[in-house]
Symmetry: C2
Subunit: 346 residues, 2 copies
Amino acid sequence: MLPESAQRQEELGLLQESAKSAFLAGADGLQLVEKQIRASLGSDAAVLTEISQYLLGLGGKRIRPLLAVLAARLFLTKKSPSAELPSALIEAAAGIELIHMATLLHDDIIDKSPTRRSKPSAYVKFGLAETLLTGDFLLVKAFGLCAKLDRYIIEQTENACIALTEGEVLEGTLANGRDLSLDSYLDIIGKKTASLFGLATAVGAHCAQEDLAVRSQLFEFGYSAGRAFQMVDDILDITADADLLGKPSGTDLRQGTPSLINILWLQSGESFAEEFFARTENTPEECLRAQEHLLNSDILGVARDIAKKEAEHAKKQLTSLAPESIDSEIQGALLALVDYTIHRAL
Amino acid sequence: MLPESAQRQEELGLLQESAKSAFLAGADGLQLVEKQIRASLGSDAAVLTEISQYLLGLGGKRIRPLLAVLAARLFLTKKSPSAELPSALIEAAAGIELIHMATLLHDDIIDKSPTRRSKPSAYVKFGLAETLLTGDFLLVKAFGLCAKLDRYIIEQTENACIALTEGEVLEGTLANGRDLSLDSYLDIIGKKTASLFGLATAVGAHCAQEDLAVRSQLFEFGYSAGRAFQMVDDILDITADADLLGKPSGTDLRQGTPSLINILWLQSGESFAEEFFARTENTPEECLRAQEHLLNSDILGVARDIAKKEAEHAKKQLTSLAPESIDSEIQGALLALVDYTIHRAL
């Protein structure tokens, strides 16, 4: 929807290439993770496997396992360039993606989403009961994988999962309340999105035998990258078209989600915003008018600045690591991944 | 609804007294478990705690933790009469009850149940999103508790949770198919009910340092007692009144659940049964007519015999344990618990 200059297109192309290098650097690990995930989906109840495989087949970037793999490689490649990834890392990364998949299934039920990645959602295709139980099944399988690992991973996984459910609940509560500050927004996306990103990168460092200080720094990197990722998602909901999103744009406006855009708009004090959010439901025309208005407003710029700042904070966690302890190519790949994420929303 | 003779009332009274002794023998352990459960319910999202506490406050017999406590005491009291229960047992027993609570919340959503234990269900009182997420929250908390324990408990817990979701799915699938055999019924209730009972008793033996053979025998005891428990539930759905059930009787008939009674009725070849289950929905009058018919039919007797046989199998697991390795009073309490369960349905 946004007019894009040729220069911006070129920049984005270059960044896309760098981001690809990140996926290439993690490709071997991701293949092992994918295999581990598939091995976890077998069940005596065929529909549990069917729904899980359907969701898996819808694609997705596997960004969380990628982060876990790259966070481990960041240190391991330096220690021994030909080192294989530890099996604990593969299992934990698979567990993290299974947790993410479980939340997608349960979210679709809660949001009554008709589509996911441009295809019918599992909820619509298979029904509420089966989709809910498959979410439970994936959650249990994920925990089964992570629980076999050491206490650090178990505790971090539990914390991240608790944060996920709390984030979802708080988002729902605040969507009704409309009394959202930027701080509570940051808290919510920290819980519902960033916690699992942070888990992935912390577990990566942990499986590379790094100490608690480094694990914490890697957690902070993933957590902050996850917040930036969610902010970009919130921006794209206004600026991108349905093809890119895999669902109609403007969803956050229609549903009154406490997204970054909605919060900033409401905080701007514009009477349009107050009237828009005061109504329990807005017509499609009103939503479209709000979206057009936002596309041409300062709000977008403010949102982008906040997202950029968050991304800078994430990158700083990586650039401040002792250079002699890390592989600079993997570091570059991770930085490119963050840059690419952000530039999609610029 | 059933006419009860004075003699039967007296028998039931005596059994109730014996069963009470089981609760008394486990009372100290149950208190610790209850404390552990309450300690697990805190959350940054107040509604997760509120819904969990609401469900906990609806009561319930805490039969699964009780079985875990008594299974541990069965051996521990013999070894050292004044021995305290190991904290691992308390944590695992609390985890098992939390898993059970999570399934109750998700089941109420799936069944759209208006009531639970004669009160509004959490689903009706708090809504779908909050109830679903609280189920996830409890599942994660449960796993967090069990994952801190040893590998045996983790694996058994994962197996039981997978079985739970599979049992639920298979029940739903078969309810639609109506091609249910007694074998597939036993498989389903084994998964959806008995697996958690078996987990409780196996974990009890495990925490009392018993070897794999004894743990397996205790698993078999709990598993079989769990199947008997579910069969009795299926019978009571026809014979008991709403006060006892905490919900209207005849639910299985109305919903076409593959319950023991429904399967036996369908297998009897009665044209009434075939017509009844051929309809996608039956009027309240038709359901009542079916219930009255079943109350006066041989089906009930057949169902009771199957349940009794299952209970005998459970009890045999206890009576065949080496007498010198167990406390006979606790053994008696566990046997009384099984007897009481069964006699409620006679």
